[in-house]
Amino acid sequence: MSYLDVRNLSFSFDHTQPILRDVSLSIDKGSLTILTGRNGSGKTVLLKCLKGLYPVSAGLIAIEGNQFEQARKERNRRFALVFQEAESQIVGQTVYKDIEFGLENLDIPKSLRKDTIDSTARLMRIEHLLGRRPQTLSGGELRRLAIAGVLAMAPQILMLDEPFANLDADGIKDILQVLVYMKAQGHTILVVTHELEKILAHADCLAVMDQGSIVIEDVPSNAILSVEQFGVHRPRCSCGYLPVEEMTWLT
């Protein structure tokens, strides 16, 4: 049995044109899954449905066998989502207060919050920024803060929407290092990205979405063979296609 099981999930905004059609996806505990696909294929909507920000029309969402498709609040608590626009997710006046925001919403006593904030900040390597205002942070730091903000709430599954978008090379490497470290720590991670060449070597599974459905779900070395027919760029090198094990920006 998979850690996260999504079966025949459907969603539409107006009950006429479905955005998600019978989406099925399985994610193992402690794995890193990459979800890719054309723009408008429904990747972000799927993340928001899983998170509980959108209600699902039909289907099943189960974590460790427990079904949550009707329990939006419970899904909201168990799934963490880092938006593509990291700055829109940050609500605290300072880095410290932003990480504290979620802990307070979980009713964690003030005396216990500091340790969690410190350890999360250390994990995200933003412990030296705790007193800073979010507006003064760089893109990479903001993205790490956004991850810290949701990670402090101890979610069961961490989802990131285009975590490398708008970042420079150092920022991308920082985020990638964090993701690889978190995977090593046993976190279950789902990443939506178009930039397979940066991360696929670390992934356990590659899923491709097209027109609101998952059309490929396999180990990266198999799935990569047929991504191009769904509008996904397959990274190349001088000698042809880039091997999956070389698809990383970490050396």
Binding site: I90, V91, Q93, E104, L130, G131
Partner: protein, 255 residues
């Protein structure tokens, strides 16, 4: 816990009505003290006695002195205040057309900038979060959960205010970068800016709502305030009220 501002804050792009983490007298006052002082100042500005030039000038000195005291970065803010300058011109222009008196229209403009200045000072020195907690603690005792919900509404409104100005600035920058002339088709341009800004604000609002919901924010949940009233608050309120009363008396004497 109060977190001191760190290095790099100077690099921040200043957004109107945003909060700065500082350790000035104004920043140390209880948020409700500042609300009371702001209400008192606004009433004094709106009273008939404030229509005389001398009381109005004295009243205007209060925000100016406060700005000096808190080392308010006015020079940086001025660049972002084009919108208020336009509104002030409209107010002054219409006032002049109505009264044919230059002094009256100038006073109207001064009064308008006094309101803006006091709002900027308040937003600069009061974190939305602190204000919300202070209001929530007070109203929560009186009307229960509705009090906390009201406080959360105030917080989100205060939090959204800089977002609006930030969005307008982004929208203007985007148009400028595509070489739009400021004076060609001004009406069409204003409507277009207004519409696209509105859409951007709605999009930002949706993102903010998702962000708050995504992090389990519950507006009716009690959130305790770390603030308590001190002698400084009482002293500050007394000074402000005495000043305002003095100016009001002076105003009624003049009129």
């Amino acid at each position: 816990m109060r977190v001191p501002a760190g290095r790099g804050d100077d690099m921040a792009d200043v957004v109107l009505f945003s909060y700065r983490e500082e350790a000035t007298v104004l920043h140390r006052l209880h948020p409700l003290t500042k609300v009371l002082a702001m209400i008192a100042f606004s009433i004094a500005l709106s009273l008939k006695s404030g229509n005389e030039p001398t009381p109005l000038t004295l009243l205007s000195c209060i925000p100016i002195i406060m700005m000096i005291v808190v080392r308010f970065p006015l020079r940086i803010y001025v660049k972002r205040m084009g919108f208020f300058v336009i509104v002030a011109c409209i107010i002054g222009g219409f006032r002049y057309l109505a009264t044919q008196q230059a002094v009256t229209s100038i006073m109207e403009v001064v009064r308008f900038f006094d309101f803006i200045a006091i709002g900027l000072l308040f937003a600069d020195s009061t974190a939305a979060d602190d204000l919300s907690r202070a209001i929530g603690t007070l109203f929560g005792r009186i009307i229960g959960k509705s009090g906390y919900r009201f406080a959360a509404t105030v917080e989100i409104a205060l939090y959204s205010l800089p977002l609006v100005f930030e969005t307008v600035a982004k929208c203007m920058d985007a148009r400028k970068s595509r070489l739009e002339s400021a004076w060609k088709h001004p009406v069409r341009q204003s409507i277009s800016i207004g519409t696209s800004t509105l859409w951007m604000i709605i999009a930002r609002g949706e993102q903010l709502a998702d962000a708050l919901e995504g992090r389990l924010f519950d507006p009716s949940r009690p959130r305790k305030s770390n603030w308590s009233f001190t002698w400084c608050d009482i002293l500050f309120l007394l000074v402000v009220l005495l000043l305002l009363a003095g100016i009001w008396i002076m105003g009624t004497t003049f009129s």
